[in-house]
Amino acid sequence: MKKFLFLAMALCFLWSTAEAADTIKIGLMAPLTGSYASEGKEMKQVVELLAADLNAKGGLLGKKVELITDDDGSDAKTAALAAQRLTTKGVMAVIGTYGSSVTEASQGILNEAKIIQIANGSTAIRLSEKGLKYFYRSCPRDDEQGKVAVAAIEKMKVKKVAILHDNSTYAKGLADEVKPQLEKKGMKIVFFDALTKGERDYSASLTKMKGAGPDLVFFTGYYEEAGLLLKQKKEMKWTVPFLGGDATYNVDLLKIAGKDAVAGFAFVMPSLPQYLPSKQAKDFLAAFKKKYGTEPTSPYSVLAGDGFRVITAAIAKTKTTDPDKLADYLHTKFKDKDGLTGTISFNAKGDRVGDVYRYYKFDSMGNIVLQK
């Protein structure tokens, strides 16, 4: 009996190592539960679709690509555990994740294990200022977003601006980034404060802001609060224009605020695939719709797809899964490749270069219109 058990164990062991050699394992860390569960689900759908597509075309280096998904729970502690689990499962790269503070918790763990990480929705500047060799991101940074937001505000020809954030790493970072730039352009910041995330009633905050008399309100927080702010602003008949950062957009924004309240709301956001003219973006969109019935709603799920495409393209090109060679290739030779969200290049810090942010506005019918 003992012998038999031993044999079975040995077989299991052999089988598992044999399987490991047969596939290239790529991890996906996404918020499958928690506040960003809807974004996370879409990230999984996007990457699964691309992986299935790649495998149908013969895989990579003659091997199949195996996707290993783990849940970061939209939260830093869970993300650190997820990163640790992924390191034990033999992945050579990890796509993800969303939220700068969540990604930050996983950075050190993955870098130490020499696993390439391509974050898809973490825009805080400091993430790539630590000199981590294996960290990349397919999304741009907040300084880039701030630049686009400042340019958009400049075009609106306003004099007095109110800036509202919610004290999260991302929202406060963006607010701090934009404030001095606007002041340099001669605009006056008449209001700079934070609301409390997760409340329903923001009428007190709105009344106070209204008293400061701004020509424009720039809100750098997330869509749930943005929807409530727009709705309550409309209720109190305050007609000031609102500009939002890239986290204010979500399909639910329209549901929360309603068509009337959302009309005229402007926001900056990485380009959505439906606004990209490239062929692969259109093909991808069609394939996504065919498989899941709807189009992707979050730009960050598409950016996760771009992360997957970058790493698989790099493996195909360099014909290796060696992290050092891949890192070297991504830093220096990966230039102007076609991604789903436009051309992709990386700089020496692993940040995506190129203008990815666009400026959008809701029309009175609740449609999103790209602004020039």
Partner: protein
């Protein structure tokens, strides 16, 4: 000055919702000396049930917005009352003779259970009430814009609070509830069926919480499975501010908390408005440890 009055009305609206939720905490505490941590989640369930009934039965299309909302509120009250009674039966009644800490832990467990049940049924994503049910018009009173929806919320809460107050003061059941709150043992000796009194408390409290949930859904449009925690904390604070166990105290505490928050946001900082509200709570408790209207010395919890 205009801002001051605008903030006063903002504070009154949110405060009246805190007050409605606070009533549930204070009634249960009054009789059982137990903080029903699951009360905030009953409030959330009220909001979600309201959404389901509203969209699945087309109440406001069939009965018109006004009657539709009244029927909706009554239905949610009924369902929440049943749920409250079930909660008592499942989570609290088996522990009535055990140390009070066990019941507190059971309340925390019930809270987590209910919150996760809502998440599993409705999903983690926030849900939205149809935007066109309550007209988005505002009354212009001396240059103050007060949305009609807010006035409705205020009126409904005051009617419910007044009704509850009269019920507790004037009826036989109300007298029994007050008696059981003062001394359960003595009330039992006087022939009051204390278990029945507790059942009434668990019917009324959750029903009021459910109404508050529906009103939050109708007024703000967006509901989320975690919102019971934020509202529950504020309502619990309001109950303590007014003197826990005391029904008029919960009403005063809720409205006061709402107004302190709004004025704190206006004159100090909106980021600090919670800190200000809790700071005031601490100050009041230093001066009056039993809360504004509390008479009895608060028991430990």
């Amino acid at each position: 000055m205009e801002d001051f009055f605008q903030q006063l009305t903002n504070g009154l609206t949110i405060g009246s919702i805190y007050a409605l939720v606070a009533l549930g905490y204070t009634m249960v505490y009054g009789v059982l000396k137990l903080i029903n941590f699951a009360h905030g989640d009953l409030f959330t369930i009220g909001a979600y049930l309201g959404l389901t009934l509203l969209t699945s039965m087309g109440l406001s299309d069939r009965l018109g917005p006004f009657l539709g909302i009244i029927v909706l509120v009554l239905m949610v009250m009924g369902l929440l009352a049943i749920l409250g009674a079930l909660l008592d039966r499942a989570a609290y009644r088996p522990l009535r003779e055990s140390p009070r800490l066990s019941a507190v832990v059971s309340a925390l467990g019930a809270s987590i259970f209910l919150q996760n049940t809502v998440m599993l049924i409705y999903g983690a994503r926030s849900q939205a009430y149809p935007a066109d049910i309550i007209p988005m018009t505002a009354l212009d009173i001396f240059g103050l814009y007060i949305p009609v929806a807010r006035i409705l919320v205020l009126v409904v809460s005051f009617i419910l609070m007044a009704a509850l107050y009269l019920y507790i003061q004037k009826t036989r059941v109300g007298t029994a509830i007050r008696a059981a709150a003062i001394d359960q043992g003595a009330a039992r000796l006087m022939g009051i069926d204390v278990n029945r009194v507790i059942l009434y408390v668990f019917l009324i409290g959750p029903a009021l919480g459910g109404v508050a949930g529906v009103m939050v859904g109708l007024l703000y449009g967006q509901i989320q499975f975690t919102m019971g925690w934020a509202f529950g904390l504020k309502a619990f604070t309001a109950a303590i501010l007014g003197g826990i166990g005391n029904i008029p105290g919960a009403m005063v505490g809720g409205i006061l908390l709402g107004i302190i928050e709004a004025l704190g946001a206006q004159y100090i900082s909106i980021a600090w408005k919670d800190a200000i509200a809790f700071g005031v709570l601490i100050l009041i408790l230093i001066v009056r440890p039993t809360g504004l209207l509390g008479e009895r010395v608060a028991d430990k919890i």
